[in-house]
Each structure stands twice: as structure tokens, then as C-alpha cells.
Symmetry: D2
Subunit: 338 residues, 4 copies
């Protein structure tokens, strides 16, 4: 934290500013020039209240120097985190993790069928929505607990770990018992109450980036989970809101690079939600792997035009297989396996 | 809902598209020109699945004609809704409702002092955060249940109804028992689980607009509450995220006009959060009243430079009194009282 | 300019960084703590190249302390600039300047008729587009030079100074000779070639804010004009691009406050373009005056539903008169006259 | 164009709406249901004025069905356009076109040195700024005409065609005579005056996407050039403005896919400007090729930390060579050569 004093500050104001910083346990370096006086904090500045300091009389500006996240910060954890999901799969190592499945679980036949198809094509986990965050209360809200049990059946048949979205704390006991990876959706990225709750369990959490959140806010939401004791956080870039309306959202692949430089946490990419159009998925998935993603979330539906939700962005099992072939080629260019 | 067929659609595809629409119980009007074939739905089209229809073979484009919200829609409820808060106050009528108080409840002395000051200046409700949504897990998270009880004490002393933010369903029984207006924060605007839960009680809900939500998404979140049975929704415009960094957010006053034309629900404006700077509050509050807001949320703190949260945007009790005087003048220009 | 060195910088890197700053003629203050080393520049830091400095080995971060604009900066020009337009009108003083007229000049009858109507209602200048920036090359592009001459005729009849948009340097001699205020449109806000050219004449320039520009970028574009020698710059807030689609753009009234605090230049507001809907103009114009605008640009058309451009946002002469009555009331609340 | 009438329209209003459409030479299909009346235009609807029609009494809503661009539209030109630049190079075919060079031309030694290095590594054209669009009038504005002549010298030595930015019409004769590809910068994407002027020559135009423009607006700017007679337009995605501040802009790779589906024009990607950080260029360049870009613009500087402009985002010649090796691998995955 660096404080720049106003040109006309008084000695008392300088003393007060120094005192306010020292109250947080940091040491203060004072650098007094003929025009500019700068205060620098030494020690753990993460508790310093930037807003409060900027309110002090005589203070012109308060600038943060270091990142506000600690446990998510690569500085304090230089090695990549590798997260175990299910018994046989990890996310964050050399091997790319492809997670596939339908937007919504609709029936046993559907979810088991899709699970078999994506497993055969090389997916390492099955995704499927049981509780669905829909803009409209009149839209299909997912099959709920029944959907979770259908996912369990699919897991029993094909052996893939299951990933599904948690929408509220009531469902947490069920999820903790049955689900392999708990997804926190984009709209709940700053549902701090829920973040704290999933921070107190030990299941891997797939944390989607908020629709218009910055990378720093996203890492701070991860920090909520990590700081409660759960180290198993997987980040998921799923497109951000921009002015462009041709695509559902705008996939921000530079965020993959930025996050992996700032943090040790693995990052997967969801091209299906980002683009909202099935024909774009192959190329954007390839681009994501080229950019350095640790894995992908791809929506696969046995019959997209009848999907109860997000059919427009789902590929068929046959298309998914073709995508996997292409991804193997790109993985090879970046020293990853699939 | 209007469907435009592709130029080269087949008779079977046309039949399928009509069938898909009729399956939702609407009647379909077919208009077949030499180049363009258009299908129009008649009847209640709100259940029609735009995404699914756009997936059908032969369909070029699906366009929604009517708004997706019903209970929030002024078409079906032409008169302004007037919401009762506490025993003596309403929001949505001719009288402007000014809700004031500190960002966070910090102590009995603080909250009672501020409550007395804002009541004396003409505020009709007391706001104060007990549970605080903070970007950082290391920042002050509010006094929690103790904060709620301090608000109750302030209410007992000054008689103003109390408004405070709900962050998770665990707190709901306490809030239902003690709080007069339950605030849903911007970051929880699409926490659909929580929206449904507050839709099942009867307390007034102050629903803040999400940081980058559209007006339609905001009204759809209100619809979640209304459709569960709670008609007491007050909307709060609190600034949206834009590129501008001089202000914390960008206050969107045209949203007040847009919402009041589309919906019967009352709209209040929070210039404090929108601008993030105390010196801007007076003028933006005046502008909000000129634009047609039904009320305001203003942050008032007895000692802003020592506030544990958001001090930069809090005005002092003396400044609040001066603002109230200015607001009376503007209220008069738009036929409102204060 | 403040430079934070990396934790592990070498003595040579420190020397290089200091040398790089001193090369710009500033003095460097070095503040060396046990963990953090900070360099502060004293003197005129406006020429310091932030990008270049941030490239130096051993440099962690470079932070600008002061605003990059000088001539537009209120620090160096504390009094409000008052700009003379035509013989009898000023913008920037106590009196509000209402500039009104059609989006496009269409015919002599139209422009003279509208000019008479707005003059009678109290407008102090006539606006009308002769050259029109249209998204489509197939849309009406304005009447060009003929349009400028029609504006001159209207001025001859009613006596109001005329404001019209310049789209390229070829038109500048004509504009310099005939037009009273030269408008630079939002899409040309960073057409630096054109800014320099209008900086070399002495006519008042109305500089619209770019569709997604920040306040600082806008002031830097004003600085381009001012630095070439033309002090007569009027800023115009006309809405910024956001996600909201109900309105054409989002009117940013807090920008009026921000600009007037940072700069001495007058600011007018264009609610017509911002909202894109005629029925919103009255209330947003009132809000703009409440916020502190020095004037307004309002689109008025004798027959909006036949307008060749932007009819949706134009009010009729009768509506304009009613708006002026409302504006007088609000002006009075903020100590302005109309 | 589809018009939806208001529920309570009159017969006269219907007649007027039909008449207003027919006035543009289209045929009108009327579809009258019990609740909804829809008008559809048949024939060339590109001249229909959506705004004007939406102003008519009795009209609820006007929706455009077809794209507003014609010459840029793949519908009317199904094959990819392949643009010739210089004598030996094309953009838009199977071979990827890598355009490289410094942000600014600084000296003969610099530009010739960089040109030799990038040519040796496989670049097919040399880029370098002579006229620089800088936010600040006090920043280095480029070497101007001298810079153009230095580019010519570099071309004479290494044989690569040269690409440089045009900032105003005064420079056009010089550019027409000397430059191989004329770049229109992001800030001038809607400088319609300049677009028309470069539409009247025959040199290839590299049209950068505006900072916050939509894909449709970008294609409409291309349409300005094409409609004046110049078919040689190359589009360049260079990142859009979003909330994210870690990167300079957000590279929108899905735009490459969207543009290539909608239009026949070639699209190149500029990862250097998009990310603003040299270390990100390799991976984002690889991702761009995976996504389907027809080429890349990469900033290469012999000594980035001394660059007069944009050093932070420039790679060294050695890094460029390494990037080219990686790009060859990815090109192979997508059936392209380099």
C-alpha cells in the first residue's frame, strides 16, 4: 500500500495517516520530497483498508501494490495445484481434463447414453445440470434431486466422476454425499454465503467466472473458498458479457494465461456457454487448449434440437468425438496429453 | 413469438415448426410470401422455448414479441404498486421515501445516533448492513446477528422501520421476525435459490439491480419473487458496471424511467453506492428525484473517515440534512412530496 | 509518477530506473525500506513514459499520480471557462444554454420552422445535422453543403447561432466561414487528425464523448484541441455504451459532476441521443440540469414520424416548449437561469 | 423487415404502415390473427428505415430479419476473398499471413534490422507505425512522412510489402504511392469520411475493429469501403474493451469465427495490442490460428524496453522466431501452412 499525501497536507494529517497505517501492524516508510510525500507500508498489508485510508484528511490517493489474494496467489504457492476428482482423474497436470455432458439431466436413458458416448470418446468426467439457474421462473428449472440421482446412475454405469451445479445450501448435504465436483455457477460467483459453505467441505469446487467479473474478483471468490480450508478449487472461464450479441458471451482466453500466471489453481474453459452456438465449439475448444487451458467443459446432447435447455450450444456425441480428435492434435503442440 | 423460416425450408420442416409451437398450447398464424414465411404465435407465448425453437431444422430466426415477465408487467397491473413498510410508511406513492443510514452497523451508539439524525432530517426508514458482501474474505464482514439486534434497538428508540441485507437462507427466520424490509444485494440478484425463498414470505423485498444486469433480467428476478406469492418488491437502481473508473459504478437514471414504464413496481435509487463518493451524492440524489425515482437510499455515517466500510461514499448527518432540503425543492418540481 | 521496484532488484537496475526518470528532467526521490523500494518523480512528470518505464528490468509497477491533461485541468485554471457562441450567447455561466433542432436538416421549410419554434421557446442555439455519421453507407448521409446553407438561412431568419457536425477536414473551410459551433461527433472523439485541425482554428468546438470512452480519454481529446491553441471547447455527454438495450445508450450524469470537478470546461448533455426515445427526454433533461449540466442538446422535429433520421428520439415543438417550462423549475433549484 | 402492429391499431394505421413500407419498393405480406397482426417485407429491404417505421402510429415493434451489409455478406459472395498484398503475398487463402514489425518506426537502423529479422523468421509483410494515434497530445506522435520513407527503405532492403496506419486524408496521396497495405486504426473504424476515401482507391485496407464495436458495426464499416468500389478489405480483430484491466483489451477470438461465417473477407488477429503484454503473445497467437484466423499482426522490436511506444507488448526477434515455430505446429492442426 502506497499513500500519496496532498500537496498542502499538515503535519498532524501526516501523523494521523501514519498512525492509521501502523494500527494495522505494518511499518511505514516516509519519503518526503519538495512537492510529493509518499508513505509506503511494509509487512502484511492485506488487512489495510484502502477505502478508509483514502478518507483521511490530507490524503490524495491510496494505491495497492500487492494482490489482495493470498492462498490463491502463485507467489506463495509456486507449483501448479493438481486437483484429484473421483478416483482416477486429476485436473491441473499435463493431461487435459475434458468434462462433457448435457446442459440438463433429462432422463436416465439420456444421461446414461450421453455418459457412455463421452466416456468412449475420452472424456474424464460427466457434467449435467440437476438444478438449473434460469433467467425466467417459468423456464424448466431442472430435475433437482432426481437429476442428481440420475447422474449417480450414469456414474455407476460408466465410471466417470460427476460434476453438477449447487444452487443453494439446502442441497449441500446431498451434494457432499453424492457429487464428485460441485459447480458454483457464474451468477453465484459472489454469493459469499455459499462460497463460505463450500469452503468448509473438502470436495473439489468448480468455480465459474461471473458474467462481468474481473480476474481479480474471480480469484477473490476462490480465496473465500480456500480461506475456509478447502484447497480444491478449479476455475472455469465461461465467457464474459460484452457488447457483442452474435455470441452469447465473449470467451476471454487471455484470462487463462492471466490466471495461470497469478495463481496456482487449474483453469478449465467452457466454450459451449461462452459462444452459445454448437458450430463454434470445436474451434474455440482448440483455441482454449492452444492458450493453455487445463481442461474443457463441453455440452453434449444426444438430440440437441429437443434439449430442454441450451440445445443451441450442445454438440452431438458424434461431433464430440470429432472434436476430441482435433483436441489431441492441438494438445500435442503445447506438450499436453488427452 | 415470431418465427422466420429459412428460404429453403421443406414442407415437413414447416409442419414440425408449427407442431413445436402448438405443443405449448398457442395458436399459429402462418404467413407465406414468395420469399419469406413467417409464423406468429397467438395466446400465452410465455412458455415457448425460444432456444429450442431456434434449433429446429428450417428455422432461420425466432424473435420474442412480448415481455417475458407477467406479474411485474404493467400491462397486467396498470396502477403503480404502493408497498407498505413498517406501520406508517409507503413506497411508490406521491410521497418520496428516503431511506438512510450507515453502510455497516458498528455499535449501538453509532446506529442509534445516525438513526436519530436521519429521522430528524426526514428519512422514513433506517438502513444499515449487518451482513456485508465484501469482495475480500479478509475484509470486515459485518456484525451479523448482533448487527440485526442493534438495528432493532435503533428502531425501538427512533421508530423508523429497518432495512438490511440478507446474504443467505440461514438468516431468513431471524430477518422474517425482526427486519422490516429485506434487501437482496446486487451480487445476489440472480441467486435464484434465495429469490424463491424470499418469494415465499410476505415481507417487503428491496431488490438491487445486478452489477451488469439488464433491466429485463432485473424484472425477471423480481418475477421470481412475485411468482412465489410475495407482491412486495421494491426495485433499487444502484449503478451498473461500465468502463468508467472515476465513479465506482455508473448510475443509470434512464433505468428508472424504463422500469416505471414497463412495470408497476416502485423504484428507488442508491446514489451512494453508484458514485462511491460522498461529494456526488447531493446532485445525483436531486437528479434521481427529477428523473422520477420513488425514493432514495443514502449512506449516512456519523464519522465517515472512520467507517469500517464504504466511508468514502457516506455523507455526514449535517450533509444529509442539507441534501434533504435540496430534495424538497426538486420533489416540488415533479409533483412529489418529501 | 511512482515506481515500485521488484523485491529482488539489483543496484544497477535501481540506477537505470532512476536514470530513465531523470532523462525526462524530473527529480527522483528514493525511498528504500526493508521490503519495498519506491521511486517518486518530482517536477513535470507529464512527459514520463509509463509504458517504457514499466519495461525496465527490476521494475515491478509504475503508477501515475497526476492527471495527464494540463490545459483542460481545473488545477491550472480554477475558474469555469465561459465560451462565447455567436454574438449574444455564452455557455458555462449561470445561464443554462439550451441548444435545439432536428437531427438532420431536411429542407428550408423544416429547418426555418423548427428554428422559429425553438427560439420562441427559449433555445439559445440551433442544432441540425448537415453531414451525418451513419452506421450504414446505404442510409441517408445528410444534405451536406446544402444543409449547411439551409442552416445559414435559418440563422438569418431567427438569429440563433448554428451548431453542426464536422466529419472531415475537407469541410473545415466551409465550417470555419459559416458555422458558429463545430461539433465533433462521438465516433470521431479520437480522430486525432481532426482534433488537431480544429485546435488550430478559433471557433467553439462541441466535443461529444465517445461511445465507450472514459472521462479521462474524453478530457485528453479536449486537450488535443486546447494544446493546439483553441481554448473554446464545450464537452457533451451523450450516453455511453452499456449492456442495456432498452435505451440506445446509457446517459452518464455522474460524468457531468466528475468533469466539472476535474476540468474548467463547460459540459452540456444530450438526452435525445442518450436515450433514443422521445418520451424520456423531458425527465432526463430535468435530471441533467439537477446534476449540474451547463446546457442541453435536444432534438426537435416538426414531424418526428417522418424524420429522415432519429425520429424516434425527437420531440415536437410543442413538447419542447413544455420541457422548457419544466427545466425552468429545476434550474431554479440549482441556482441557474434559463 | 417484420412489423408487429399494436393490439389496438386502426385500419388507417395499418394502411399507413403498409404504405410506408411500399414506398421503399418492397412488397408487403399481411398476416392478421385474432391478437397479432404482422407485416413482412419481401424484396430488397436494405433501404427500409427501421427507425422511421417504428415511429408510425399503431406500430409496436420493427424487427430486421436480414443483415444490413451486402457486399461484405457471404450470402452474396460465398467464396473466401483472397487479397493480394505486394507482388508475392496473399491473405485469405490456405497460407497464413504473418505481418510483423515494431509499433513505431524509430530509425533506419531499427526498421531495417527488424525487417530483416522478421523476414528471416517467415513474416510475409512488415508493419510499422509512422503516424501514431496516441491518447495524449504530449506523447510521441510518430515520425510521420519520414517514417513512411524509412519503411520504404526497409522494403527496398528486405522485399516485404509494408503496412502502416493512415490517420487523415492529407496523407492519402503519399500512402497511395508508397504503402502496400493501408491500416485504418480502431479509433477511426467509424471515421466514415476516411472510410469513403479509402474506398475510392484500390490499395488493400486493413480495417481494425473498433474498441467497443460489434461485429455488425465492423462489417458495416467494411461495407463503406466496399460500396465505394474497393474490394480489398482485410479485417483485423485487435481486442475489445471490457471490464478486465489485467490485459489492455480482451481478445475476442470467437469474432474470427463469426466474421468468417457472415462474410467472405479475410480476418487477421493482433494479439500484441489485444493483450498489451509480450509474454502473452505466443499463446494467444497460437489460439488465434487454432480459431481460424487468416493471419496475425505481431509487434516485434529489437529492444522493447527502449521502444518509444508499446514496448510492453513487443517481442524480440528471437522470441518472434520461437513463436513462428509454434505457429507452424498449430497451422498444421487446422490445415493451414505458414
Amino acid at each position: 500500500m502506497v499513500i500519496i499525501m496532498k500537496p498542502d497536507f499538515t503535519e498532524q494529517q501526516l501523523k494521523d495517516a501514519i498512525g492509521a497505517m501502523e494500527a494495522y501492524g505494518v511499518q511505514v516508510m516516509v519519503s518526503q520530497g519538495s512537492e510529493t510525500t509518499i508513505l509506503g507500508a511494509e509487512g502484511d498489508a492485506s488487512a489495510l483498508n484502502q477505502e478508509q485510508l483514502s478518507q483521511l484528511a490530507g490524503v490524495e490517493r491510496v494505491m495497492r501494490v500487492s494482490e489482495p489474494y493470498k492462498k490463491a496467489n502463485r507467489k506463495y504457492h509456486p507449483d501448479d495445484s493438481v486437483i484429484q476428482i473421483g478416483a482416477h482423474t486429476t485436473i491441473g497436470g499435463t493431461q487435459l481434463a475434458i468434462i462433457a455432458g448435457p446442459c440438463s439431466v433429462e432422463s436416465e436413458e439420456q444421461i446414461v447414453g450421453v455418459a457412455q458416448a463421452v466416456e468412449a470418446a475420452g472424456a474424464v468426467a460427466l457434467r449435467g445440470g440437476a438444478y438449473k439457474p434460469r433467467t425466467s421462473p417459468y423456464a424448466f428449472q431442472g430435475k433437482g434431486v432426481e437429476g442428481v440421482h440420475l447422474l449417480e446412475k450414469a456414474r455407476a454405469v460408466v465410471g466417470l466422476p460427476i460434476v453438477t451445479e449447487l444452487m443453494g445450501p439446502d442441497q449441500l448435504p446431498l451434494f457432499e454425499e453424492t457429487v464428485d465436483v460441485i459447480q458454483i455457477g457464474a451468477r453465484n460467483m459472489q454469493n459469499f454465503d455459499l462460497l463460505k459453505k463450500v469452503g468448509r467441505i473438502h470436495k473439489p469446487i468448480l468455480l465459474k467466472r461471473g458474467l462481468s467479473s474481473t480476474i481479480e474478483e474471480w480469484l477473490m471468490s476462490a480465496e473465500y473458498i480456500l480461506s475456509e480450508g478447502n484447497p480444491n478449487v478449479i476455475l472455469c472461464e465461461r465467457g464474459i458479457r460484452t457488447f457483442e450479441t452474435y455470441t452469447r458471451n465473449t470467451l476471454d482466453l487471455s484470462a487463462v494465461l492471466a490466471v495461470k500466471r497469478q495463481s496456482h489453481l487449474p483453469v478449465v474453459v467452457d466454450p459451449s456457454h461462452a459462444c452459445g452456438q454448437a458450430w463454434m465449439v470445436e474451434r474455440m475448444a482448440m483455441a482454449a487448449v492452444a492458450a493453455g487451458a487445463d481442461g474443457l467443459l463441453i455440452e453434449v446432447h444426444n438430440n440437441p434440437s429437443c434439449a430442454l435447455c441450451d440445445g443451441a450450444q450442445s454438440v452431438t456425441p458424434a461431433q464430440f468425438e470429432a472434436i476430441m480428435d482435433k483436441l489431441r492434435l492441438v494438445a500435442d503442440c503445447v506438450g499436453r496429453t488427452l
